[in-house]
Every structure is written in structure tokens, then in C-alpha cells.
């Protein structure tokens, strides 16, 4: 570490790699403010006049609806995932009951199951329940597929939850359910936030299930909406890039603000 040349080399390599990572994203934002003609000149030249109209046009062409749809589906799904997973993880980690271990193993084994292996029967089931092409038809499988990972993460958290707090509550005559809602959950906020952030980003970006469940343009989420533009605007590049920028900006901002929580949940996941 004392060798200055070595450290300079490391800085140079890291910076070079970071530029390679950043270039496509920078190009996306930069090009979305250009005219189509400017796009054909030097790729990193600044636009003569920023074309904010690209954003307005993409917004009016459907992006605004897709953003609202994604926000709604993601919010409802994540709330249900966190609630269901936290309750289940608490019971599995802290209470004794017959079937505890098999239920735990079954739930976490679910996270090895690729969603594509169940697309066909899921499509049939949702069709049978009349949920095809509805928000509920998207939210229900989202919740189910979010549970294994969240239970695994929260289970590890609840294992280390201090038992003194529970004992104190029990001595005060508090029974299990009120204790879980009034005492355990408020004290578990950091873990719940980690799960929330992770699942929000994951569901905001989810595509495979949306592709088979949603047919109506009015119900499309952001990733599904972008695929419509992919066909429609294959020549209108600047509009396409403006849409991509608007779809990407919310998650990038969320990530920058909450990156600690996000990374914590990822690291817990790999242990």
C-alpha cells in the first residue's frame, strides 16, 4: 500500500473500468436530450439545445400510466410480502410448533424455483380464477415469489432477536399476537426496511410474469410498457431513450438514497 506507483495503477484500472460501466448510462441520459439528427454525430457531444420535449412526449405516450401502474403493483405487493414474511419468519424462528422445520425448508426451497418453470400452470390457474389481465393476477404471484427470499432474510434476523424483550412482554401479560404487532415488529424496522428496498427494486423491474399476465395496455407496468415502445419507436430513438431514462431514474434515485439497506440485504442473502 505504501508503493505509490502501484496505487496509481490501481486507481487507473478502477477508473477505467468504472468509465466502461458508466458510459452506456451517461449516453442514455445524454442522448435522450438530443434531436434525432444530433444522435448521428459524435455520441458524446452535448446537444445544441436540450430537447426536454422528448420527455414530455414520452410521458404523454403512456410512460405516465405505466409509472403509476408500476408504483401501485409494487407498493401493494411489497407491503403484503413484508407483512406475510415477517409474521411467518417470526413464528419459524421463535415459536415451537409441530411441522416447524418442514414448513421452513419448504418455504426457502421455493427460492430455487425459476418463475419460468411455472408459467404455463400459473397462466391456467389465473385464467381459471378470472385473474388474468388484472392487477390482482400480477400481485398474487409476486407475493408468492417474494416470500422465500424475505422469510430467509427475516428468519436470520429474528433468530438473533433479544429474548429479554419477549420475556418482559409476556410477564406483563401480553399474548403472542399483540406482542408481535406492538413490540417485535416496531423493533425490527431495519430488517423490514432492507427487505422492502430489495423487493421494491426487484418488482419494479419484474418482466416475465407481467408479460404473461397483462394484456391491456392500460394495465402495463413499466418494463412491459417499454417493450411496446421497443416495437413502436424502433426508429424514433430519442423518444425511446427518453422513456428508458424516465423508467430508470426512479430506481437509480431510490438506490442512491437507500444503498446501505439494499446492499445489506444482498449480503445477508449470500451468507
Amino acid at each position: 500500500m505504501k508503493l505509490r506507483p502501484l496505487q496509481l495503477l490501481v486507481y487507473a484500472l478502477l477508473t477505467l473500468y468504472s468509465i466502461a460501466v458508466a458510459l452506456p448510462i451517461v449516453w442514455m441520459f445524454l442522448s435522450s436530450t438530443k434531436t434525432v439528427r444530433e444522435l448521428f454525430s459524435f455520441p458524446f457531444a452535448l446537444p445544441a439545445q436540450p430537447q426536454w420535449g422528448n420527455f414530455a412526449k414520452a410521458w404523454d405516450s403512456g410512460i405516465s400510466h405505466y409509472l403509476v401502474n408500476s408504483l401501485f403493483v409494487t407498493t401493494v405487493s411489497v407491503c403484503l410480502i413484508v407483512l406475510f414474511s415477517a409474521l411467518a419468519a417470526y413464528a419459524l424462528a421463535r415459536l415451537n410448533f409441530p411441522g416447524r422445520v418442514p414448513i421452513f425448508l419448504l418455504l426457502i426451497a421455493g427460492f430455487a424455483i425459476p418463475v419460468h418453470t411455472v408459467l404455463v400452470p400459473l397462466y391456467r390457474s389465473l385464467n381459471g380464477m378470472g385473474l388474468l389481465n388484472t392487477y390482482a393476477g400480477l400481485i398474487a404471484p409476486y407475493v408468492a415469489f417474494g416470500i422465500p427470499f424475505s422469510v430467509l432474510l427475516l428468519y436470520a434476523f429474528f433468530l438473533e432477536f433479544p429474548p429479554e424483550i419477549e420475556d418482559a412482554a409476556r410477564i406483563d401479560g401480553c399474548s403472542t399476537l399483540p406482542m408481535v404487532f406492538k413490540i417485535v415488529m416496531p423493533l425490527s424496522m431495519p430488517a423490514l426496511v432492507s427487505v422492502t428496498v430489495f423487493q421494491s427494486v426487484f418488482l419494479w423491474n419484474e418482466f416475465s410474469l407481467a408479460l404473461i399476465v397483462i394484456r391491456d395496455d392500460a394495465l402495463r407496468t413499466i418494463p412491459l410498457g417499454l417493450t411496446k415502445f421497443q416495437g413502436q419507436w424502433s426508429t424514433n430513438w430519442t423518444l425511446m431513450l427518453a422513456s428508458l431514462s424516465m423508467a430508470t431514474l426512479p430506481v437509480l434515485l431510490l438506490y442512491i438514497v437507500l444503498q446501505k439497506q439494499f446492499i445489506r440485504s444482498l449480503v445477508g442473502f449470500s451468507k
Binding site: L6, A112, V118, V143
Partner: protein, 315 residues
């Protein structure tokens, strides 16, 4: 007197037992109540469909067909003869091998450089390199489709600048190049993911180990191999498994970039399942492919769970 006392005691114990049993029952009931919502969703939307997949793989059936016809292992026999299926399987294998080598290899090197090589800007490099991970695969796919475009895309600009002639059929149009063009995108997006997890592992390695190695006269490269790598062995195995599972499951990026084309050259199991079920109405055949995918994913998943439930050796 004595019998009376005995009976009293006996009654007290009986009452206490009954009370304890009632409390236990009460706890069981509460526990089942807490587990029920998660378990119900899981059974209805994952386990039941999973069993259906295995069942449907034995039928000749399309989603819009009114009737289904039992054909035993006919779909699996056809899979053995299906060149596109083998191509898809081989593409998954290519993606798996290259992803592990590039994403894990590069991810570990980058993490080591950030952990031990620089003094300032650690969190800047980490934040920046992780950014593509949070983007949707759809946005990333469309963005790279534009980058690969022969008329205005960055890719041609770049290779011309270093004196290489870009492929005449386009990066995504050449059957021999397309899978590697897809891999570039996957590695661009996910190397930062591996890096962040490995970096967290490296930051928990005790400084004393490095100091001891320094006393022995080890340089930075020697420390990397004799201290860093052995200390984070489990983390590295974990990211290798996560990367392998990701390579087996891959769908979005391939679907967006190529739809499996040109001429099935970039088909993977995920896109081939979708194609059979929803494009050519062969849901039974798609289910058979799903069973193969499921078997591979479960093997990798069990390996990862065994690893994560093992007591960790590093402090």
C-alpha cells in the same frame, strides 16, 4: 393425612399440566396463524403450479386447446431429438461458464482493488459499479440494442476507434457472435453485484491477518492469495452458485435483445419455454423443458442452501 397431601399434590400437578398443555396449544395456534398467509400464497401460486408442470409435461397440450392428450414421456423423447433444445441448453452452459469466469473473476479483482488498493473513493467506486444492477433488464436490453445498432450505436464507434471492422450482419444478427453480445450485456450489468457481495466479505477479514503476513514479508499480491482468498472462501462459493443459478434462469435480457434469434442461435431454456407455451401453443412440450430447467435449478439451489446453513468458519 399423607394420602390427602399426595392427592392434593397430584391434583395440583394435573392442573398445572393441563394449564401448560393449554398454553402450548395456544402457542401452536398462534404460530400456525402467523405462518398461514405466507404458506397459503406459497402453496397456491408456487407448489401447486409446480406439481401441475410435472403433470402437464406428460401431455400433448396447448393453452388454447380444449382437450389434452396423454403421451407419457413423449415430450421428453422429443426433447432428446430437438436440436433447438440442445442449442438452448448449450447456450445456458456457455452463459454459465463465461458468467462465472468473468463476473466472479472480475468481481473479486475489483473488490480486492477497492478493499486494499485505494484509500479514497471506496464508496464512490462501489456505488457506481453497482448502479447497473438496479436497472430493469428490459431497460438494459433496449439500451444495449441501441448501443449495438449499426447506424448510431456506440459499439461500432468503439471497435472502429480501435481499428476493428464491426460484424457486417450486426452484433445481434450474426449467429456466431450473438450469444457473446448477450454475455457482454449480462457481465456489464452483474459484475458489480458480485463485487459488492465479495467486498463486504473482504471488509470483515481481520486486519491482524494482513499484519502477520506483512511481518512475514508478503507483498500485496501474496497477501491476496494467502490471506484474502482463504478468508472469504465461503463468500466466493456463494457468489459462484448465485451466478450459476442466474445463468440457468436467464430470460429477460435474451428475450429483449434477440427473442432467441437469429434462427434460434441465442435461444436459452427460459426463452424456449416461453416460445413453446405462448407463441406456438405447445404448453405440454414447454412443461417438459420446464421440468429439465427445474431439476437443474433445484440441484444448484440445494447446494446453495447447504452452504448457507453450514456454520461459517470465518469469524
Amino acid at each position: 393425612m399423607t394420602t390427602n397431601t399426595f392427592e392434593n399434590r397430584h391434583a395440583t400437578r394435573k392442573r398445572a399440566n393441563g394449564w401448560r398443555k393449554a398454553r402450548k396449544r395456544r402457542e401452536w395456534f398462534d404460530a400456525y396463524l402467523l405462518v398461514a398467509p405466507a404458506l397459503l400464497m406459497f402453496l397456491v401460486f408456487i407448489i401447486y403450479p409446480l406439481i401441475s408442470t410435472v403433470y402437464l409435461s406428460l401431455f400433448d397440450y396447448g393453452l388454447t386447446d380444449p382437450r389434452i392428450r396423454f403421451i407419457g414421456f413423449g415430450n421428453f423423447a422429443e426433447l432428446g431429438q430437438d436440436a433447438v433444445f440442445w442449442r438452448a441448453l448449450r447456450n445456458n452452459a456457455t452463459i454459465l461458464v463465461v458468467s462465472v469466469l468473468v463476473q466472479v473473476g472480475l468481481g473479486v479483482i475489483l473488490a480486492a482493488m477497492i478493499d486494499r488498493g485505494v484509500r479514497w473513493g471506496k464508496s464512490f467506486y462501489r456505488t457506481l459499479n453497482f448502479a447497473p444492477v438496479v436497472m430493469s433488464a428490459v431497460a438494459v436490453g433496449i439500451l444495449w440494442q441501441l448501443i449495438y445498432d449499426p447506424t448510431v450505436g456506440l459499439a461500432n464507434h468503439f471497435v472502429r476507434a480501435i481499428g476493428i471492422h464491426p460484424p457486417t450482419q450486426g452484433w445481434l444478427g450474426d449467429p456466431n457472435i450473438v450469444i457473446f453480445a448477450v454475455l457482454v450485456v449480462a457481465c456489464w450489468q452483474y459484475t458489480g453485484y458480485v463485487m459488492v457481495i465479495v467486498l463486504a466479505g473482504m471488509q470483515s477479514v481481520s486486519q491482524e491477518l494482513y499484519e502477520a503476513a506483512a511481518i512475514d514479508g508478503a507483498n500485496e499480491i501474496q497477501k491476496f492469495f494467502s490471506v484474502t482468498i482463504p478468508s472469504i472462501r465461503n463468500v466466493i462459493i456463494a457468489v459462484i452458485l448465485i451466478t450459476m443459478i442466474g445463468a440457468v434462469k436467464v430470460f429477460d435480457i435474451v428475450y429483449i435483445l434477440t427473442r432467441g434469434g437469429p434462427a434460434n442461435a441465442s435461444q436459452v431454456m427460459g426463452t424456449y419455454i416461453y416460445y413453446n407455451a405462448f407463441t406456438v401453443n405447445r404448453a405440454g412440450y414447454a412443461s417438459a423443458i420446464s421440468v429439465v430447467l427445474l431439476a437443474i435449478a433445484l440441484i444448484l439451489g440445494v447446494m446453495q442452501l447447504r452452504l448457507s446453513s453450514r456454520p461459517r468458519e470465518d469469524a
